[in-house]
């Protein structure tokens, strides 16, 4: 037990030290030239600020832009391949605080590897990330520009849709089991931004599994699906749902909608535009 305790103590002090050292060390150092991205959205952001050339390895599923496909992969959601990361001798690792295992990152830092975190939660955070990443990777100017452009496009989209009539939508993340989004899940944010009422906005958690009965009771007028999945047969079983009756389906690119990168706004635009035909229809309450 004493050992366990001392281990956790050591670990905690390591974390504190790293946190203290981070703001001091980063701005002084020259722009890092060997960078590893540990999440797909970080990869997209890095390319967006023009620092793609500095990337030497990326995470699984880092498939955009295409240039990233040629880079070695060093982690999955479950674990980092520490040996491979060490062997690549990065001078900066960009980690996703809520997506990468904290213990592994801690381990990396023990080996003296610089780790910086990305953790966008709201849409506006993405602009901030662009700015910060630009500064961190020596592309401050492009980062600023990209951030500004992102912010401006977001504001335009918001203005365009904020006061439109609100359809009742169901976001079908999956149908077996029935899974939807709520609260701070990215698609749930987009639903709010596009002026629509998520019928499960009151559910607990970010990715709740609602009861089928509740879905039937709550009568969505539009069903949104993250990709063109083979769910037609499932929905045909409920012809009385207004959305099914009117064939009111909107599909979204899953990669856009779950990754906190610049393409999130493409998702938002596609969603807002996709909802247009169903606003103010007769089924709307």
């Amino acid at each position: 037990m004493r050992l366990l305790h001392s281990v956790s103590q050591l670990w905690l002090s390591g974390v504190i030290l790293a946190l203290l050292a981070l703001p001091l060390a980063l701005p002084l150092a020259a722009a890092p030239q060997r960078v590893i991205s540990l999440a797909p959205h970080i990869t997209e952001l890095v390319y967006a600020v023009g620092a793609g050339e500095q990337l030497i390895a990326v995470s699984d599923y880092s498939d955009y832009p295409e240039a990233a496909l040629g880079l070695p992969r060093v982690n999955s959601f479950a674990a980092l391949n520490i040996e491979a990361i060490l062997a690549l001798k990065p001078d900066l690792v960009l980690a996703w605080r809520s997506g990468n295992p904290a213990q592994d990152l801690e381990r990396l830092q023990q080996f003296g590897i610089q780790v910086a975190y990305s953790d966008p939660v709201m849409l506006d955070d993405i602009a901030l990330e662009l700015k910060q990443l630009g500064a961190l990777l020596g592309h401050a100017q492009l980062g600023q520009q990209q951030a500004a452009a992102f912010q401006q496009r977001l504001t335009t989209l918001r203005k365009a849709y904020a006061h439109k009539p609100r359809p009742r939508v169901f976001y079908a993340m999956g149908v077996a089991p029935l899974t939807t989004v709520a609260n701070s899940a990215w698609p749930a944010q987009l639903l709010r931004e596009c002026a629509s009422d998520n019928i499960f906005a009151d559910a607990k958690g970010d990715y709740p599994q609602p009861l089928l009965e509740q879905l039937l009771v709550r009568q969505p007028t539009v069903i949104i699906q993250p990709q063109q999945a083979a769910t037609a047969a499932f929905w045909q079983r409920y012809p009385n749902l207004p959305a099914v009756k009117n064939q009111a389906f909107v599909s979204l690119n899953a990669d856009w909608v779950y990754r906190a990168g610049p393409r999130m706004l493409d998702a938002m635009q596609a969603l807002c535009e996709g909802l247009e035909p169903y606003r103010g229809s007769v089924d709307n309450i």
Binding site: A78, A102, R107
Partner: protein, 336 residues
């Protein structure tokens, strides 16, 4: 102790020891970074290597991980052998007290409910595992662990109870965190370092030494409780001590490496098949074979998919069940 063994048993033990050393050397070479034999030997003997990274990878990543693999394999196998002999139940397994479910609950709570990094996942898993043991012991207090069936059933019940709570928490969790907990429960050695070695090694050693010290008592229990008691064995105390020790060892292992199924159940059976049922060859054989087995399972986990790891529990279960069925089949055929 070794002198009492039959030549065949001695030969097998020496063979296993040799295989253990060879496996260790061979496994040190496996990984995503290629290291030549020459460099490996230089690094191991502490001499200067052209690439300092090699030193780090071998001493800080591969060696501790392999040592933990050995300790985990040996610990689970010895715990399984002890439990099977003590309970005279061939299905006894180190996870019998719902340890895995308890550790899972601890890990779930710490990574989902509690604020970030309040206590480490390993400590939480350890506490969860102890909670499970405590619940089982409370449930069985009345019959003082005399009826192992009752203990086993209580373990199953506690297991279900605790994993239900975990599932409930996971249900509300953010999917990445939930996935990580589930991946963790499937077992992995990727988080292990020298601290893990320092935590697990003493526990495993104590279990092995104690089990060897009571080798005669363990053998006497093979016949029946009454028969062991008439030889002066305090069966209740022996059981209690051994159950607690195996639970402690398993809790340490689970806390560091998650769930590694089937090793504790299967390795002792395979060793028994080749080495007989008495304690000394069974315990030593299980420790050696468990260590070798686990090392190779981890090698497979590290290298089957490039740059990615397969959960250990998946591999142990696949390999274990197939091997186990083959042995069962052969035993059935021999039995007539």
């Amino acid at each position: 102790m070794l002198k009492q063994l039959k030549p065949r048993q001695q030969a097998l033990l020496w063979l296993l020891s040799g295989l253990l050393v060879l496996s260790l050397l061979f496994s040190l070479q496996i990984g995503s970074v290629a290291i030549s034999w020459r460099e490996l030997l230089l690094a191991l003997t502490g001499q200067a290597v052209s690439e300092p990274l090699t030193q780090t990878i071998i001493w800080q990543i591969r060696l501790p991980r392999l040592l933990v693999a050995m300790l985990v394999g040996a610990g689970l196998a010895v715990a399984g052998a002890v439990l099977q002999n003590v309970s005279r139940n061939p299905l006894a397994d180190p996870y019998l007290f719902g340890l895995m479910a308890g550790a899972g609950l601890g890990a779930t709570i710490v990574s989902i409910v509690l604020p970030d990094q309040l206590i480490s996942m390993a400590l939480a898993a350890f506490l969860g595992a102890l909670l499970a043991v405590l619940l089982v012991f409370i449930a069985c207090m009345g019959n003082r662990l005399q009826k192992m069936e009752v203990t086993l059933l209580a373990g199953v019940a506690v297991s279900f109870m605790l994993s239900a709570i975990s599932s409930f928490i996971l249900y509300f969790a953010e999917p990445f965190a939930a996935n990580r907990v589930i991946f963790w429960m499937m077992g992995s050695l990727s988080r292990t370092d020298w601290h893990s070695v320092a935590l697990i090694a003493p526990a495993v050693m104590v279990l092995l030494v104690v089990a060897l010290a009571v080798r005669r008592q363990l053998d006497a229990l093979l016949l029946s409780d009454d028969s062991a008691r008439s030889l002066g064995v305090n069966t209740q105390r022996l059981r209690l001590v051994l159950l607690l020790l195996t639970a402690l060892v398993t809790a340490c292992i689970v806390a560091q490496c998650g769930g590694i199924a089937f090793v504790g159940l299967m390795v002792p059976h395979m060793v028994r098949y080749f080495m007989g049922v008495t304690a000394v060859p069974l315990l030593l054989g299980s420790a050696l074979f468990g260590a070798i087995f686990m090392m190779w399972v981890d090698n497979a986990a590290r290298s089957l998919l490039a740059m990615q790891e397969i959960p250990l529990g998946v591999i142990t279960s696949v390999l274990g069940s197939v091997f186990f069925l083959i042995i069962l089949r052969r035993q059935l055929q021999q039995g007539g």
